[in-house]
């Protein structure tokens, strides 16, 4: 019997029981839709987060912090780690940049960041916010081409002590023209010195000299929309410390070899008391975290497909019993056992194929629906509201991703599950003896 005729015979059998076939197919549709929706939405989310991080930090920078690395040293894989690690009393000093700069020709420069939480006051408002003391010239050398760029005002390479640079969110937090701070505004910066006895508030008045362009991403180490930057010398004297929170190192290139090499040099230079995090390592960690989440979610979705498979098996066995006589007729007409097997498998292939195609469409639709709910001012928009210092700015803009691999995989999986669960009923059908099958009422 020709393959086309086998297939059309299978199809005619399915058409006869539309409701039953429809419900069986629905099982596959739900399973595949769940898998496709979860895969494309998590892939989209990962892309969004990765992109936002990539705008926040250049891939050719390393971040050095005090404390032994929790995980293995080195940039690749899970290396670097979000350390902080054990407290050995080691502190990273602002002038450690000199040590770092001298380590390798692959290091183009470095900048120390001294960060403290302060109140940011004017006559109308008071915010608790993180202020970062940095060398404006060095900082601009690292991030100038990308994120540390003035929208208004100027970033001075030799700033006066009272100069303050603010991120765009502090200037225009609601993106509606209601401006919070402008160039030339004076702000009182209040820091509570908790080591003094009794603790006391230190205050100095700064003047906003520049507002950064909107960066639009999460920040990791680099400038951010909610950042406040003051000259390092001012920070050093105001916060009365020579220590810094982190040192950002600019590399000559973003090759993995360079990253690994410099990471090792820096770690050794401080006798292992620092952890060095590269942005690629961070991206790798995020990537592997997402892979695990994806695998987990898809695993759950796959269970529903398994249930669908059992449904197929169930319905095929019912169909086999109902059609015992028909199988007897087919065999009496000279149909080979193998052909009977193929007819039954053909039915499951049709169910699997239709289920997978509809499921992929439905899953893709679902993913887009979820994406719209997430980004369209829905869930995350309000977070940044009252206190402009929050993380939320424009909400997560998730664009679901449907790769050809996912489409082909879903098709294969849908058809595969259908066929596997149809194997037993099909085999039983093919083994029926014609005389007995014909006698069946």
């Amino acid at each position: 019997m020709k393959a086309r005729d086998i297939f059309s015979y299978s199809f005619s059998a399915i058409k006869l029981r539309k409701l039953r076939a429809g419900l069986t197919t629905l099982g596959v549709v739900i399973g595949i839709a769940a898998i496709v929706a979860l895969l494309s939405i998590t892939q989209g989310l990962q892309n969004t987060i990765t992109n936002q991080l990539e705008t926040g930090l250049a891939t050719d920078t390393l971040i050095v912090t005090a404390g032994r690395s929790v995980f293995s040293q080195g940039g690749a894989g899970i290396g670097g780690g979000f350390g902080g690690g054990g407290d050995s009393g080691f502190t990273l000093l602002i002038n450690d940049t000199d040590t770092i700069n001298g380590l390798s020709r692959d290091i183009e420069g470095s900048v120390a960041v001294l960060q403290r939480a302060v109140y940011f006051n004017n006559s109308e408002r008071s915010f608790l916010i993180n202020v970062a003391g940095v060398d404006f010239a060095e900082y601009e050398a690292i991030y100038g081409g990308n994120t540390f760029v003035a929208e208004s005002g100027t970033i001075s390479t030799n700033p006066a002590n009272d100069e303050v640079i603010i991120g765009n969110t502090l200037h225009d937090p609601w993106s509606n023209g209601t401006l919070l701070y402008n160039v030339g505004d004076n702000v009182d910066i209040v820091w509570t010195n908790a080591t003094a006895r009794p603790p006391k508030n230190e205050t100095y008045t700064g003047t906003i000299s520049a507002i950064l362009q909107e960066i639009g991403g999460f920040s990791f180490g680099g400038p951010s929309d909610t950042g406040v930057y003051i000259p390092i010398a001012q920070a050093q004297s105001f916060f009365a410390t020579d220590a810094c929170n982190q040192i950002i190192v600019k590399l000559a290139n973003s090759d993995q070899a360079t990253i690994d090499h410099v990471t090792e040099l820096i770690t050794n230079a401080f006798d292992g008391e620092v952890s060095v995090i590269s942005s690629t390592a961070v991206l790798n960690i995020i990537g592997s975290v997402f892979s695990v989440i994806q695998l987990f979610l898809v695993g759950i979705a796959a269970i529903s497909l398994l249930v669908a498979g059992i449904g197929i098996m169930n319905i095929m066995i019912v169909s086999l019993i109902e059609r015992t006589r028909e199988i007897g007729i087919l065999k009496a007409l000279g149909m080979k056992s193998r052909t009977v097997l193929l007819i039954f498998l053909g039915e499951s292939v049709i169910i699997g194929l239709i289920g997978a195609v509809v499921g992929i469409g439905l899953g893709w639709g679902l993913a887009n629906l979820v994406a719209v709910l997430f980004s369209g001012g829905g869930l995350f928009a309000g977070v940044g509201g009252g206190q402009a210092a929050g993380v939320g700015t424009a909400g997560l803009n998730i664009v679901p991703v449907l790769t050809p691999t996912v489409v082909l995989g879903a098709l294969g999986f849908g058809i595969g599950v259908s066929v596997i669960f149809a194997l037993y009923p099909a085999w039983r059908a093919s083994k029926l003896k014609p005389v007995e099958a014909l006698r069946y009422e």
Binding site: K331, A332, G334, S337, T339, K433
Partner: protein, 227 residues
């Protein structure tokens, strides 16, 4: 005349629950090409078992059965399937596929034999015309009378130019007037087209219409007469 069927000491025992039933107890039979044979006998005489064996639907327990010179005991599952395509089986209960119309039912046995679509259609229409159902080709079995269904079944059985036609109680489920028509058709096929016919029946009148009548009782042939 070529020998189409040759049974030598054919025995068939099957299990009815745990009780062995000797359906055939040593049957010897020869059928030549162009013959019109009626196997007559009461129910339980083994005539249906005989028919199943000749139709290659089942294998004998012992003895030899040559169909077209081939010993069916030596055939495997696939070879038996191939042999069945050269046998035209017409069942008492018609056994048409309910969801297929008359043409598609006839085409089915051609499609099983691997005949292409266009040729299949042409041949099916010719056959339905031969059995007098030219105006019923698009009707499904449920829309046809018993006699019409039986004609479709005969057309289907003839589709692959079988070596012989096997009829199992062909008039058992239709009224006597229609039965006469069916018989007339069968005789015509035998006389005009030389189709070999083996017909099982318990109807004496019907059996008389055949060229030769074989009586079976309790799994053996008791008489074999030329009418």
């Amino acid at each position: 005349m070529a020998l189409i069927v040759e049974a030598v000491d054919l025995k068939k025992t099957y299990m009815l629950g745990k009780v062995p039933v000797e359906a055939l107890r040593g049957v010897n039979l020869k059928v030549e090409s162009g013959d019109f044979l009626a196997i007559l006998g009461p129910s339980g005489s083994g005539k249906s078992t005989m028919l199943n064996l000749i139709g290659a639907l089942d294998k004998p327990t012992s003895g030899t059965l040559l169909i077209d010179g081939v010993n069916i005991s030596t055939l495997n599952d696939n070879q038996l399937s191939d042999l069945r395509r050269r046998v035209g089986f017409v069942f008492q209960f018609f056994n048409l596929i309910p969801r297929l119309n008359a043409t598609d039912n006839v085409e089915l046995s051609l499609s099983i034999a691997g005949v292409g679509k266009a040729e299949r259609r042409k041949r099916a229409e010719e056959l339905l015309e031969t059995v007098g159902l030219k105006d019923r080709v698009k009707h499904k079995p449920a829309e046809l009378s018993g006699g019409q269904q039986q004609r479709v079944a005969i057309a289907r059985a003839l589709a692959n130019n079988p070596r012989f036609l096997l009829l199992d109680e062909p008039t058992g489920n239709i009224d006597s007037k229609t039965a006469r028509e069916i018989l007339r058709l069968v005789k015509k096929l035998n006389m005009e087209q030389g189709v070999t016919i083996i017909m099982v029946t318990h109807d004496q009148q019907l059996a008389k219409e055949a060229k030769r009548t074989v009586h079976m009782i309790d799994g053996v042939i008791t008489s074999d007469v030329v009418n």
